[in-house]
Amino acid sequence: MGKPTGFIEYKRELPAEREPEIRIGDSNEFQLTMPESALKIQGARCMDCGVPFCHSGIMLNGMASGCPINNLIPEWNDLVYRGLWKQAYDRLALTNSFPEFTGRVCPAPCEGACTLGISEPSVTIKNIECAIIDKAFEHGWVVPTLPAYRSGKRVAVVGSGPAGLACADELNKMGHYVTVFDKEDRPGGLLMYGIPSMKLDKRLILRRVELMTAEGIEFVTNTQIGKDEASLELLSGFDATVLCCGAGKPRDLSVKGRDSKNIHFALDFLRGNTKRLLDGLKNDNEFISAKNKRVAVIGGGDTGTDCVAVSLRHQCKSVIQLEIMPKPPDKRADGNWWPQWPKTIKIDYGQAEAFSVFGHDPREYCKTVKEFISDEKGAVKALRVVTVRWDRDESGRMKMIEVSGSEKVFDVDLVLLAMGFTGSEKELPNTLGLELDERTNIKTKKGGYKTAIEGIFAAGDARTGQSLVVWAINEGRKAALECNRELRYR
């Protein structure tokens, strides 16, 4: 068990990041690595709790607390402390299909639930996870492992985001032949075209896909299942289909002037950017440049931050990030107790970079857009923004009230909408004749992944609505389990 007194003796430390002013000159990862000795000390801070919360992914107050895939965190923290990296990797690989992704992009609900977090900064679980898997690849411990036998059953997985990949990986390990379809030219879904390469190097995704291909999984790209009847024929011949096609319908802002030019959804901006980088700066059809533009990002979440960071790399003239909610407190507010996800202010990489260029945090809180103002050519030239106040009504629910006289106009040339997603894109469920639930996600049987149609399952954002990569992995793994049961006992 870690070191009993480690948490008293050592302070939390994260690896250094590359200097913001330097890293915005490229699109490489911003996080540096830590020497083994320092990681060992961070592992020693784990208290090996009698009742750990870090590994029990539960929903508290609508937010994830603890690891949704139940990573054996205290165990590998201890193994890292003792320098047993191979064993640590073996334990990590038991529960997490892709630690190299979560180790980089997960918001780490494990750390929010870490018992040490009650009174001290929590254990650096995410960074330890990342170090374990990076070391495992470095030492060649991650090798293709073929299933011991083949069931002869064939499964189609639609969508190759984290849910689809995890599902395919598990089903393949269970002995089924798996084919993964993706509408994009490269597999990975949001891992590939949603998250920018500064956070997640795209080579890592290709490395994993190559590994899975070597293990017998077939990837079919540029193929959108469900866009028409004909595309469904591709699914014939499969014994089961798992839909992991995400919740790609972006939330829109229906205010006056929304049809002005140069207003884009964040994902279109991010996809074009990554595609151009991967294609050697050649593919410009889908590319939206922020160069020399005054950029307004609407939405204060991770995707919004990614838009800020990418705009800076395009050398935008200025950037603001509008958030409708109030600025979170520095420390947990009353009612947001441990082990809930801590709703506190975080300075993410994009904000740090904007600060280094413009000298201030790009975020503006309690702001909502009332109107997009366009010039004579129909291009957006300004935003009319109003400040809002959040009050509680009699029933205790938060209510948004516009503050009168708070109107402000921001001059902009490019607007990026990063306000989340509102469910699945309709084509696939419609073509298949699948029912959607009230939040327009694909409806499955209660407590499971089966849809109303025999042999068709749904998992990931497509089933739950937008969520974390780690929930998607969990969904993919669980759906694989259920699908496997069906295939074996049907």
Partner: protein, 435 residues
């Protein structure tokens, strides 16, 4: 007799079930601790409790955020919840519902296959049906029947009221339990924890003492017994003195025969004990400060001991010093067979070669000789210089380090408290270096 139920009582419903099964008292531990901030780390034994509950570490104690009011509040919830269940069941008082097991029934749907195989009908059988008198027991007035209330307190009056010296003799039988304990509580009530000067009250008993002879007696009380004692003599000894020796007329060899029962001086915190003869198993378990001399002990001697000095002039049973984290034991081992009987998990074995220490042990043996007339002690003292080399000193490793560090700190002029804390800090720093 009162039946107490405990074990994961968390809600008023749990209490109601326990009461219906026959419980009259209800023990809570985990839940009130959680109300105080416990996060069930299960490290109470490691001094690393991160919420400051089970720790002596000043830094960690600072993290304690609990308040007594939280426990009060929690118990109010329990009471309210219990009240709701009682109302639903139609009971006015807890007494009314005690033992009404008929009101409990097994849930028809028990969720999973394994649970459905459990049959609780024997547990839910109403014992009251077997006995028309119901679930209540008649309590005998033990306290007023005790030797203390009947004789000892009266005899000790001069000491209790005027601090005069008192000596008296009594016959004793093994139906008298915890002799001296109520007297001790009277004395403590009057004079506080410092008690009275040594030997203020000397009571001499003849016969066989029942369980817990001299339990918890404070400083100022000396109980001598010519005869033997049952289990737990000197339990929780708190400064008093207990002397046990066989009848002068006894034909047996005292150092070859058991005259004190099991768990003698269990959890003693201060005081002295002298036993001319062998004591049973678990001798001086959890002793934290008493100095005791005995002529032989059963298995598990000095288990979990944390302080005090124990001198064993004869053989020990197996597993001696298991989990012993403090204090020192000295075992006279002329046959050199102690090594195999000692549990060396936490202790080191040494010779008694420190002059000052040898002196201390000799004084204890001499007192033993004087108080009990032990011939064995006499023989050892006759050739002390030779015999002291036959003693094995048993000392816990960490205790030894800490004693040395405290000693060094005291030499630097620190107060006792400062010295203890400084030793603790040095110890922690040392551990950090190891890593």
């Amino acid at each position: 007799m009162v039946i107490e139920a405990d074990g994961k009582l968390m809600t008023g419903r749990d209490v109601a079930i326990a009461a219906l099964l026959g419980a009259q008292e209800f023990g809570f531990a985990t839940a009130p601790l959680v109300a105080l901030g416990c996060v069930m780390m299960r490290v109470c034994n490691l001094d690393t409790c991160p919420v400051g509950i089970a720790t002596q570490h000043p830094g960690l104690r600072g993290k304690f955020t609990g308040k007594p009011e939280y426990v009060v509040n929690f118990m109010r919830f329990i009471a309210t919840n219990l009240r709701e269940w009682m109302a639903a069941l139609g009971f006015r008082t807890v007494e009314e519902m005690t033992g009404k097991a008929k009101r409990l029934k097994m849930a028809a749907d028990r969720g999973n296959q394994k649970a459905s195989k459990i049959d609780l009908s024997n547990l839910l059988y109403n014992a009251a049906d077997m006995d028309a008198n119901g679930s209540h027991c008649i309590t005998r007035d033990f306290l007023n029947d005790s030797l203390d209330v009947k004789k000892l307190i009266e005899a000790a009056k001069p000491a209790l009221s005027n601090e005069a010296k008192v000596k008296a003799s009594f016959a004793i039988r093994n139906t008298y339990r915890a002799v001296g304990t109520i007297l001790g509580s009277e004395l403590t009530r009057l004079f506080g924890s410092k008690g009275l000067p040594e030997d203020s009250i000397i009571f001499q008993f003849t016969g066989s003492a029942g369980q817990s002879f001299g339990a918890f007696i404070p400083k100022g009380i000396t109980l001598k017994i010519e005869g033997d004692t049952n289990d737990y003599p000197g339990k929780g000894l708190s400064g008093g003195k207990i002397i046990i020796y066989p009848p002068k007329s006894a034909a047996f060899e005292p150092d070859k025969n058991v005259i004190a029962g099991n768990a003698a001086f269990y959890g003693a915190t201060a005081g002295e004990g002298y036993i001319r003869g062998i004591a049973g198993e678990r001798f001086c378990v959890r002793n934290s400060g008493a100095n005791v001399v005995v002529e032989g002990v059963g298995d598990h001697g000095c288990e979990y001991m944390t302080g005090g000095n124990v001198v064993v002039l004869g053989e020990t049973g197996r597993n001696f010093a298991a989990g012993m984290s403090g204090g020192t034991a000295y075992v006279f081992d002329p046959e050199e067979d102690f090594l195999g009987k000692c549990n060396k998990g936490m202790v080191e074995l040494e010779f008694l070669d420190d002059r000052e220490e040898s002196e201390t042990v000799m004084k204890m043996v001499r007192k033993h000789f004087e108080y009990t007339g032990s011939l064995l002690a006499g023989r050892i003292l006759l050739d002390w210089n030779e015999n002291k080399t036959k003693f094995v000193k048993v000392i816990p490793r960490h205790y030894k380090e800490m004693q040395k560090a405290i000693g060094d700190a005291l030499k630097e002029g620190m107060s006792e408290e400062q010295a203890e804390y400084s030793a603790f800090e040095t110890h922690i720093a040392g551990k950090a270096k190891e890593a």
